[in-house]
Structures are given as C-alpha cells and as structure tokens.
C-alpha cells in the first residue's frame, strides 16, 4: 500500500538509484542497445520521485488522488520501468523481454496501454508539460491535492510546445505543477548549446512566470528537498527544477559522451558497466 510505504533515504535511496541503473542496463542488454546516457542522467531524479516523493499506490495504479509523473523525455523509459518494477507496479521478469519480440510489454517509450503506473504515454518530445498542465487543472477543478511532476530533457525544451505549456501553467498559477529539466548538456547531435543555444534556462523560466530552483541532479538529499510536494500550501506559481546532470552518470566510460545518448553495448562494455554499478554478476 502506498500509504504504508516507507520512503527511502540515505544509503537505501542511493542503492535504489544504482539498482535503477543496473535494471536499465539489463533491459538494454536484452535489446542489444539503448539510451544509456539519457537514462543514467535522470536515474537519481526518478528514484527520488518514486521512492520518496510521489504519493502512489501499486495496488491501485489509477487512484484518482495519486501524484502524477510524466516522463516527457520518454526515451528514458527503462529508468521509469525500473522504478515501477521496484515499487511493485509491474513484474521484474519483464526486464528480460525489453524490446525483444512482437508484443513485448516494455519498449523504448513508456505506454499506459501496456504498463500499469504509467500516467501518460509519451515519447515524441514536447508533449508532457501540456498534459501535465491539464492534470494540474483537473486537480484544481476537483479540489484534490495531488501533485503533477513532468521530467523533460534539456534538448527537448527546444520544442515550441513546451513554451506554450509554460505560458499556460503560469497563466493558471499552477502551484501543483512541478517541471524538472534533466540538464545534461547533450542532445543527440552534440552539445545542446551548439545544436540550439537557449541562453540562461533560469532566466527563461523566470521570465515565463515560473518559480525556478537549480539543483545538482545527482545530489539525492538536495533533490529530496527541492522535489518535496507542496500540497495546498498557497503556492501560486508553477515550479521548474533545473537539475544539472551528467549524461551517462554512473558508468565512467559513458559519462558526458555524446554517442552514449543511444548506443549498442558489447559484452565487455556491459561487464565493465555492471562492475562499476556494483551489480552481482
């Protein structure tokens, strides 16, 4: 039961974040390749949300009062799958079938058609924040105190629809909406600043009417604080958390390497990665 779930902290939380990376590697091993970099930069954020922040109930995935989480950078789905597995929404043995056959229940991008606990099917970039605005508006209409969290990539926010949603969230004063930017500095084709320079993200979101926090996206205690739900506390501005991260965080040869956005992995590399992550082989 969600309400009896003991939130993790300290070493237990850190261990779970490593478990997330291990689960993710296993899924990519099953498929032969995957978005390692994109998953590992947000593994700590997703772990904090699912093991300390979100009010959710694995026995009742569609609980109307649950907090919502939207993985707008849907290509990091294995990170979400691991969290859903370890919280008991979906079975662990699905890891082995990731992308392996027609009808596999885990694929590159999350889908509420196939995976309990996924609040919205996402994958094409720039969609999550708008859906989150709709969920936050619905909470207000229903006088419910659930929170809606939307995780985006720093490349993703090139999409114009993100800024349309940014305006709408500010217009409606959605204090129950939290955006998170996985600010790892890399997109598929290179440095985000080279592919499409966006200037100061802090200034941008401030000027769009959001409250803005900046945090080390791998500091679990800092994430715990900044992501803590502010239920019915009178906040009248949506909150953007800019989480500075390292793409591929946790596996030395993947860290801040463009090509590991999505790549195939050899047996040797896999063994090295698992060893670094502390997995029992």
């Amino acid at each position: 039961m969600a309400l009896t779930f003991q939130p993790l902290s300290g070493n237990a939380l850190a261990d779970m974040a490593q478990q997330n990376r291990i689960d993710t590697a296993r899924m990519f091993k099953a498929a032969g390749n995957g978005h390692f970099g994109s998953c590992y930069s947000c593994a700590d954020i997703v772990t904090v949300l699912y093991f300390a922040t979100l009010r959710i109930d694995p026995t009742n995935p569609d609980w109307p009062d649950r907090d919502r989480f939207l993985l707008s950078k849907g290509h990091a789905a294995p990170t979400l799958y691991s969290a859903l597995i370890r919280r008991g929404f979906i079975p662990e043995d699905w890891i082995a079938e990731y992308e392996t056959h027609v009808g596999a229940r885990l694929m590159t991008h999350p889908s509420r058609r196939y995976q309990a606990g996924v609040d919205a099917s996402l994958g094409s970039l720039g969609h999550g924040l708008s859906i989150g605005v709709g969920m936050a508006l619905a909470a207000r209409l229903d006088h419910k105190d659930y929170m809606t969290y939307v995780l985006m990539g720093d490349g993703e926010i090139n999409e114009g629809s993100v800024w349309e949603a940014a305006m709408a969230a500010a217009k409606y004063g959605l204090g129950n909406l939290v955006g998170i930017i996985d600010n790892n500095g890399l997109c598929v084709d290179g440095r985000t600043d080279d592919v499409m320079p966006m200037g100061s993200l802090v200034d941008k979101w401030l000027s769009f009417g959001w409250e803005v926090s900046r945090v080390d996206g791998h500091d679990l205690n800092a994430l715990l604080q900044v992501l803590a739900p502010r239920r019915l506390m009178g906040h009248d501005r949506p909150h953007m958390v800019i989480a500075d991260t390292v793409k591929g965080k946790g596996v030395s040869f993947m860290e801040d390497v463009r090509s590991w956005h999505s790549d195939s992995i050899s047996n040797t590399q896999y063994a090295m990665a698992m060893a670094e992550l502390g997995a029992l082989q």
Binding site: I131, G134, L141, E164
Partner: protein, 322 residues
C-alpha cells in the same frame, strides 16, 4: 421550380450560432464537461458558455498544440474536454497531439473543427480546410463526424457527448449560415447513415454541406424520371459499410459528394469500403488536388462543382455511360 429557387426556399441558420447554443445547453447536463479554445471563444460561438461557466472554460491563447495536450491531461484526470477551434488548426496544427496525447492515450476528447472546407472561403487556403477528414480518419480509433446542417450539428454534439468510447471524436463543422433541412428530433446514431431519399437508379452519398445539395439534386432528378437514393454519411469513421453495400447492390451507380479534397475524404472512404464487393461506377465530386480560389462559401462551392446543379449533370452523364 429551379434548383436555385428550391434552395432559396429553405431556412438557414449559422453553424457557429447553433454550436454555441448546444454547448451552452449541454454544459448544464454534465459537471465534468470543460471547453478549451485558442483565442477563438467569440469566433467559434462559445462566449455564452464562457460567461455562464467561467471555471470550465480554458482559453489557452494562440497555441493549439498545447491546448490539445492540456485537453488530454484533463481527460486523463476524468474530465470530458471539448476543443473549440478552426478545423485547420485542430486537425493540422495540433495533429501529433491529437494522435498521441489523445488517441494513443485512449481518452475521449471532442475535437470540434469549425470553418472547415470552404466555409471560410474568403480566408483563402490558410483558413480553408480540405484535408482534415483525410488526416483525422487515419488516426487509430478516431471517430470522424461531419454533420450537415444546424439541426444535425445539435444532434451530433449530443451524440458525441454521450458516446461511451474512450477515443477522440473529431467533428467537422461549417461556420456561417447553411441551409437547414433536417427534421428536428431525428436520432443521430454515430456510425449509422441516414437514407434521406429512396431510389434504385443511383445513389448519392454526401456529408456536411453537400447533403442538402444531394437532396435537391435527387428531387430534380426525380422530375426527370431518375430515382436517386440519398445517403447522408454523417459518420466518415466508423463508416456505415452495410448501407453502402446495400446501395451498391441495389443501384447502378454512385456519386459521392463532399466539401473536401478528393484525396482521403468520404469518397476515398467509400471506395475503400466497396473495393472488395461488386459495385457499379463510383464518381467523386470534391475538391481537386489544388488550393481552391478565394470567395464567399456558397459561390465558391458552386464554382468548384459542389452544387446540386453539378450533381444532376454528373448523375445524368454517369447513367448514360452505365
């Protein structure tokens, strides 16, 4: 009586006005009903709803992609959202949100596209919408409705509201005054065509603004000794295949008339449905693969052959060759 006289004898009503009246009326029935618009509250006739229910009216500014995603988010949290916009923006600008946020997520959102076809003819190709049916009907699970006058707009909205499907419903709508000819109170059943005239010589299939033209054409043909059945296919998807197969069996030829591109619209849908059953010749009257000129809606339609006069001429020609 000429066709022009017959047409002029019909009453007219603004589609936008009817839309606004029905939305206001339906709002009283369901508390979960919310309406979204992208700075087209007045232009789509929902200002009275907005004034009566300010808490359930969301004006998202000129940002249709976000609006459609917001609607999906509201639907995913238990609301019944209706998007009130122009067809070009609802169906084209925000098509990926319609496909993914709404259809793929399996939620019901009513996507109302006004000013469709040539009904904003003077707006030119930026505001004319001749591709929307083709695009919307290709999205999995999308229901596509094209009502034919103010009476049917009212019935169609009520049917859409009550429809149980967890799927988006695209409603293609006109804009200004259109001829009113449907009998009030006739039930509107999604997926079920309406046979408006009997006849076994040929079948005229139409939807939207072309239904009245098909009816007028049928009446004119009857005076010439030709019995033309008229089917109002207000639902393009799911298509009433059974009625089409019966018509293909019982009549010698078929003409499909629509205020839409001949590519991918009702005519294409009918031909897809008939492809595997025996049928006579099928002629399509629609908008050719080109950007239409600019002009007032009724004159513009007529100039492109979207008229009872042309339907009569095409019917006689088709029967002569059949």
């Amino acid at each position: 009586m000429t066709l022009a006289d017959a047409r002029a004898a019909l009453p007219t009503k603004s589609i936008r006005q009817q839309f606004g009246e029905t939305i206001l009326d339906l709002a009283g029935e369901r508390d979960d009903f919310v309406v979204l618009t992208a700075d087209l509250m007045y232009a789509t006739g929902i200002d009275r709803f907005g004034a009566a229910y300010p808490g359930r009216m969301f004006n998202l500014g000129i940002a249709e992609q976000n609006m459609t995603g917001v609607a999906a988010g509201l639907a995913l949290s238990g609301k019944l959202p209706l998007i009130s916009g122009y067809a070009v923006f609802t169906a084209l600008r925000a098509v990926e949100q319609a496909k993914l946020d709404v259809a793929y997520n399996g939620v019901k959102v009513i996507l109302a596209g006004q000013s469709a076809g040539l009904s904003y003819g003077v707006g030119g190709p930026t505001h004319q919408s001749c591709e929307d049916v083709a695009i919307m009907r290709s999205i999995p699970g999308m229901i596509v409705l094209v009502p034919s006058d103010a009476v049917e707009v009212d019935a169609c909205l009520r049917a859409a509201m009550r429809h149980p499907a967890a799927a988006p419903i695209y409603i293609r709508l006109g804009r200004g005054a259109e001829w009113t000819f449907n009998a009030p109170g006739r039930p509107f059943e999604i997926g079920r065509s309406v046979r408006l005239r009997e006849g076994d010589d040929l079948t005229l299939v139409a939807n939207g603004s072309m239904v009245v033209e098909a009816v007028l054409a049928s009446d004119a043909l009857r005076s010439m000794g030709v019995a033309a059945r008229v089917l109002n296919l207000h639902t393009v998807k799911p298509l009433d295949v059974a009625a089409l197969e019966v018509a293909a069996r019982q009549t010698r030829a078929m003409i499909v008339v629509e205020e839409h591109s001949v590519i991918g619209g009702l005519g294409a849908a009918v031909l897809e449905a008939l492809a595997e059953v025996p049928h006579g010749p099928v002629r399509r009257i629609g908008i050719a693969d080109s950007f239409p000129p600019i002009g007032p809606p009724h004159d513009l339609r007529a100039s492109l052959g979207l008229s009872a006069e042309n339907i009569v001429a095409q019917a006689l020609d088709l029967l002569r060759r059949t």
